[in-house]
Symmetry: D2
Subunit: 360 residues, 4 copies
């Protein structure tokens, strides 16, 4: 049923509540013999973790993980690779006042109705803390993919109404990590930071957009009907907390184009490799990778936790006023960059393995 499992061959099963003993995951289906560099995982976790800068939650988690199985002498064993990250700095008492109140635009109400019970501490299972599990697994998937030269990177292209007009081909990917908002367009980055400073001071929040690029994907990944590569990428990204939109290639703008403008002409390049001269298809045709860059954008809504007085309802149906004291981000988008990369890596790794049996 896959409520907490992602993928078909390369599968991640995730568990854990925000303020429980631990979060963690089980990676099943990773081929045996894969060399894994734990520092690369640590680095990706550090990019997601709270407390990186003024714009992210003050919760301090070292994100130290323990691998419980499936890994020996730096290599995967072919058996399930289970890992846990203990919750250390969870301040559950922050949430005592919220035991009954349904925070606006959070999952408190829907969880209570669906399950008849909920872990109100830090949002429980609905907390974005779970995404650390995805980043760990995605980091393993990236290492599998880098063995076949596939490269994945993401960056922030919009925060609030401030948006970079640069195409991904025109950015310097080495500058993504050079500022706290992970926007490689430095001038725009400064504007974003300034906006976030104002929002933070006001106790308010905003959303943004992440652009992700996948390069050197072999031709043939993706399935023709219900597991089209774009469908699986959309599912992966829309499953990230706060994501409200997904588009790939020409995206929503493509709807306004003419076919004669939008079509990507095929040519045979100097080395005899077939490629297209434009890439409105975003590297995917008929649901299957065509060897060109895959690129897509994910929109995120503003963080729902604001430090302002809000009126709401509690589980007894009473109107109550809340002003949550928990530690949260004014904007989640910079920290979501490694999460988007991770979900992309999980999808591509899975389809890379699935494609091993496409033909005799």
């Amino acid at each position: 049923m896959s409520a907490n499992t992602f993928g078909t061959i390369f599968q991640l099963t995730s568990f854990g509540e925000s303020h429980g003993a631990a979060i963690g995951g089980v990676i099943d289906g990773c081929p045996a013999g894969l060399l894994i560099d734990l520092d690369l995982i640590r680095n990706d976790l550090a990019r997601r973790k709270p407390g990186q800068s003024f714009i992210s939650s003050e919760r301090r988690e070292d994100e130290e993980f323990e691998i419980l199985s499936g890994y020996k002498d730096n290599k995967t064993l072919g058996s399930p690779l289970a890992f846990i990250i203990r919750n250390k700095d969870s301040q559950s008492s922050d949430y005592d006042s919220l035991k009954k109140a349904y925070r606006p635009s959070h999952a408190d109400f829907t969880y209570q109705e669906k399950y008849g019970i909920r872990d109100y501490r830090g949002g429980g299972r609905s907390s974005a803390r779970e995404t650390a599990v995805r980043v760990f697994a995605g980091s393993v998937a990236k290492q599998l993919l880098s063995g076949i030269q596939i490269k994945i990177f993401a960056f922030v292209s919009q925060i609030g109404a401030i948006s970079s007009g640069l195409a991904y081909e025109d950015i310097d990917i080495n500058r993504i990590e050079s500022n706290v908002v992970r926007c490689p367009d430095e001038r725009i980055a400064r504007e974003m930071i300034s906006l976030l400073e104002k929002l933070k001071a006001a106790g308010d929040t905003t959303g943004g957009v992440i652009t992700c690029v996948i390069q050197n994907v072999p031709v043939g990944l993706g399935e023709p009907v219900y597991s089209k590569l774009q469908a699986d990428l959309a599912s992966a990204c829309m499953g990230i907390n706060a994501a409200h939109g997904f588009e790939y290639g020409s995206g929503f703008a493509g709807a306004a184009m003419k076919g004669s403008e939008h079509n990507d002409p095929f040519i045979s390049d100097a080395e005899g490799k077939i490629r297209t001269t434009s890439n409105n298809s975003g590297g995917i045709q008929g649901g299957i990778s065509n060897g060109m860059d895959i690129y897509f954008r994910v929109a995120f809504k503003p963080v729902s936790t604001i430090k302002m007085e809000q009126s709401t309802i509690d589980s007894s149906g009473n109107t109550v006023s809340i002003n949550p004291g928990g530690r949260h981000d004014p904007c989640v988008v910079p920290r979501a960059v490694p999460i988007v990369e991770a979900m992309a890596a999980l999808v591509i790794a899975d389809h890379y393995l699935r494609n091993k049996t496409s033909k005799i």
Copy 2:
């Protein structure tokens, strides 16, 4: 692996090439005892079928189906409901000239590379003809859902650059079928038709956007992490041929809002029912339906088949010039309306059944 199967409990397995003997599907997991009105299925198929008007392909298929199993005395039996629709008006000879050429922005190249073989006639498995299978199954799902008062409707909100500014709450859904473009904003509809007439005369095509609304969804449908309702809707819609973007609730525009504007306050209404006063969440919070209207938008790229000379590559790597003679739509979007509804119905029906075991 689900390459051709959609859903977890209410499952559709689809088969068929555009110009093969038949297309069809197997619905497994539909509860026994569901009364099915075949005329409602016929009506949905008629809304999707080619040859409805000047804007759609001239291919004439009566879309007559045969139910092979799982259905007796107007009711489902609980066993798999298999159905086929024979391909009658397939003019394969139209495609002889395309046996080797890779049509720009089609799946010819990717299929050939993935499988080492392909049915070039009418696009084979990559043809949108397969979507008739989804419409049939979606129509069954709608009938299951209408038994619990869930209502699903979609309409065209944009064609090319012409877009209706009306919110879905302000349209008259009874007018959706009143014009060939399925845009209930009559003035805009006339502009769209005029645009399509011009494009058709020029042999060109365009894209568009469909808005879909799901009403009366009970609270609690959707799973918290990897089968969030929005993730499954996104996967369902991005798997439709030519879809390039998906957004729900506030969507991409939400990225520019502040949390204090975006949050949907809870109130208890006159009947004591908990609802929100705004609906930027699009009826989904934490991946789970909150009882408000679910609404989303799907962007479609322009149809790739244009009646213009185009240069491309063939399977031997030679540069060739093509001008496809097949029968195609200048804009696929009006015919995609029942397909979007069908995919939404499949997702909601599946989650309705999944939710039967959420609590003791």
Copy 3:
């Protein structure tokens, strides 16, 4: 949920009631480019079909199939291969008297309770007619496997209390098809036939045991924990109508042996290939094929339809007397031989494809 789908990569979805319009199936996940000889499928279907001899049901079905998709120019396309077999000689009126009565040891009662509705004609979905679908798909799987030299054969080793003492290594597999009971031990076969003649005259039935052997399986097929090769073979065979027992290798007899007798010593043979000198493990160790012959036995209960007066209950709870007039086999076991082979082939084909991603 897999109620009517078998396999994980090489997947068969089956549909159809005994006396509906047709039975059929969809094979998804078969690699593209597989040459399929339809005569081999016809031959396997003929081995299963009713009316072969005095011991099988008089129902006459030519078992003519139609392939609807996924196949062109004698090769698989990589898309779903759908096929149907129409029901031609179904005499539903035979079953009118059984509309309400629950036949002893049939599925009438359980279906009625589970679904609240049932197709009483010929047992509907519970009929062994569905196994023709498995034989078709199994025959495709066999052709995939024969490309890597894997050979599968089964034969009848017991009918009623008459059992052949010959080990499978001592039989001549070319004699399996030389008699109507498919027992290659000719003397025993004659005894079996004589028993069946007596049972048929008396309107009674009996059960039996089928032995199946799979040769040339590469080392490494099967998964370590919940998809052990023997578990999947057991599931496959216990899902055949009337199967009541499964054992592989030393089986139930192995329970009485000592470890020192039962262990299979490894040696390196003349060609340096590692093999074992005995094969109590039945070719599987730790759930994974070790390259030795895989062999197993499946026990079948007697056919439940007997031509004798029997007292039972009807759906209103009344005691009624029945004497079914339908056409049935005195012993199902000879016709089940190709079904057992088919299920074995489906399991091995699936694990062969699954194993493509076991290591880097």
Copy 4:
């Protein structure tokens, strides 16, 4: 792909090697709000754990578990329930001499070939240590089932050639735990113990048979074709380490019966409940529970680790002599009793939840 996941709605994902940091599992799909008594889990784990008596391995594990998620205030939360059991008394140095040798009838050779790498310590993933995970999850499933009055028990009916002739209806289930071999037939139990003492002294081992009974199952559990209840029980049990055979109801003996003897006549009992007067069907008809007792038997081969000199091959292809010093059971069957119960509970819990959507 399910290599390490069992079930469709009530799903267990298992991880862990014998001598790694920990074993554990993730239970997904358990309804929220289930009260869980941890002492019942501890009790089942104690019945499986090594070191219970002279007949079991001397390895001492307290089997203390930690629940990491999905559980709060004694109740399930509806989110994944993850648990770990740390490996404490693993003496990996015992296995140093076996680093290269392929132990006869173990999984050393097949794992090495399948994965190109293996954790040789204690058999790694192939060790029966993993079954503690199943016992934990099965104990949770039992608690779900006991809420609807379903009762599951198993006992040892054969060890070596010593077998109890008592039918399960004639045993006193309260005596199952009264002796170390878990055979409620006391006289036979003494014979079994005496046999095991002799085998232990000789460094040899033997196998046995476990009988399992499931009572008060509602009518309607199981699916008609590929998830027949007996098929899923067979898969569950044949996936237990060392299992070589499975039969239910009349089993292999049923093959020799006549239909007129084997059929189970339906009657309406004093309360108007439909039942059968005999139960050769083992409580399952057409793959679906009919409300009668479900009973089945599982055969286990002798433990492969014997304390005797054995010749074998190592990973370099050399002939070597081994005499393993690890700690193992002379007979695994008494400790496998709670494992068989656990697997039965997982299957029935899953089908109980699956059946919630069988009809409108």
